[in-house]
Amino acid sequence: MDAATLGMWTFLITEVLFFGGMFASYAVYRNMYLDAFASTSQYMNVVLGGTNTAVLICSSLTMVLAVRAAQLSNRRHLILFLILTMIFGVAFLVIKGFEYHAKWVEGLVPGLHWSGYTEHPEFAYHAQILFFLYFCMTGMHALHMVVGIGLLTFLLVQAYRRVFNANYFAPVEMIGLYWHFVDIVWIFLFPLLYLIGHRR
């Protein structure tokens, strides 16, 4: 393992701990308020969330294909797959935007616009905590996606300028690792935020 790879993995471990603080908070409150948390799933748009999950998984596929293209000095494919990954990333953010907008309109934004939790008023307070965690965790995730798309733009420019080939493709690999990590965070977020309580 070379230094850059070790550095990127170490950085990703810091990200695990960063998101970990929010996951820990989620675990604590879900343990305390199991029924309230379960009741929030009906307000979550599983269709949009599920679509986003598929979008991100596809983006990870195109990302790893981009890394492969760089390894094989295939500039055309590298550029193609970087662009596809960015399109998927932007699609994710657009869908997220629709979700957030819907939550705002329905009055499900804690602290700023919280009036729409009407199905189970006895759970309203505790549900507010879950909804805050929803916005905080998906928001932090979206922020990391934005950074990722920025990094991909940088890679795209470099790829266009013929910087990468079979002898030098480390930045593509490293940013690929970052992208996969952001994807995996979503894989954990989706079931924990969208899919609890649907079996009831």
Binding site: M22, Y29, Y125
Partner: protein, 543 residues
Amino acid sequence: MATLAQRSPEVEAEEVNYLNVEHGWKSWLLTTDHKRIAVLYIISITLMFFVGGLMAVLFRINLLVPEGLFSAETYNRLFSMHGIIMVFFFLVPSIPATLANFLIPIMVGAKDLAFPRINLLSWYLYIAGALLAIYAVVRGGVDTGWTFYAPFSTTYSNSYVLAAAFGVFTAGFSSILTGLNFIVTVHKMRAPGMTWSRLPLFVWSNYATGLIQVLGTPVLAITLLLLAFERIAHVGIFDPNIGGDPILFQHLFWFYSHPAVYIMILPGMGVISEIVSCFSRKRIFGYNFVAFSSMAIAVLSFVVWGHHMFITGESMYTGLAFSILSFMVAVPSAIKVFNWTATMYKGSVSFDTPMLYAFGFIGLFTIGGLTGLHLATLGTDIATHGTYFVVAHFHYVMVGGMVMAFMGGMHFWWPKITGRMYPEAWSKFAALIVFIGFNLTFFPQFILGYLGMPRRYHAYPPEFQALNVLSSAGASILGIGYVIPMVYFIWSLKNGPRAGKNPWGAAGLEWQIQSPPTTFNFDETPVVTEEAYNYGPLEEIVG
């Protein structure tokens, strides 16, 4: 008292080194040379140290009279800013960002750290965070304590909580990047023959510190963000009115802040290993034990955070577990103290200034560590939590320990960093002043705490006045002890005698290159064939 310092008469004209190779502000502000970045850090953290120290001067003046000289609100802001600045802007970066930044590449036989530009970025993040903290100070500070407990910090405080929190948040990323850089450097950049078991213990200590920085600091980052969201938008995560739990804040906060104290002390322990070995002319006793004790401290530091919360509502069983684990984490520290002592046994001990600070460290850190066991014990903690006993405990380990180690290290490596020697008589005098001033300041606080004086109070019952006056008097002496080195260190830059490669006759790669070093440290990559601390008889060592 015997001293080892040797001046090198052959060095007259100044050779090319990392300080004079380039001039101009761009060559400093855009440098990627780890040694220049270390110098930038030395200047920055020294400035922050004096800002934090100023806060202390002011509140110790307040504590001269039982009714207090300032208002409670003002007092709260003074001790809070003192804590925030000293912890996050002095102690956490101190040795890693300065001495370790300078020395680790050289000690492993490399030209620079693994990621030089990230090193520079970490300094800029530190400066950004420090500017936010200074902004908070100038606008009146925060009154939440450095611990930022909810719901006071999130809901009721009228002070500049967000500015201070974001300052700490930014400085935290500086810390993460430093740790990341050290971890990758030690794994990947060691010279041929430099196996893990030949590394100086200073490297082991800073490697372990880097592990803690990388794993712990991100949790502080998210905790401060949650605090900010609560304060800005009142989302409810720590609000008991809707079922939020302020104790969750404490768990998240201390999950970082306990390991943080080991971020603060481990590098100091690394310095002591280097100094004790050199000034005993003997290899460190029990190298493997000392190296692995650093790793054990790093691991155990993550499972003791609950000892800060024994009386805030943990179950008895949780308290029991954290208490036992806190006793366990004391063991590796004690192992180090025993090994340093054993190193000195039958060694040829000399009393140069770095060694004076090392002696101070060993004694005072031991006192601080032992009193930590009082606090780790559930029964005695109930009586002493929130009192001056705690304040004295952590100042003994942080100031009596860490700051002394920092001073010792600065004196030990000053000739290497600057190419100059400081005046020995003044440095010994200052070390003595620091030792006297420190004990006079903080020993009375053990007694005050045991007698029941609470911490973070601007006023106190009149029967405690004598001890408080002693403590404030000690603080003024301690302050003088810190100012004197500032003066002679700056004086020495132009007027101190020039130092050669190895004024102490010490072992280690850093002593085989010129003082100050060239930009890329080594003319050729060294090949290492010996263990660390390979001290032979005194006559063989040439300065």
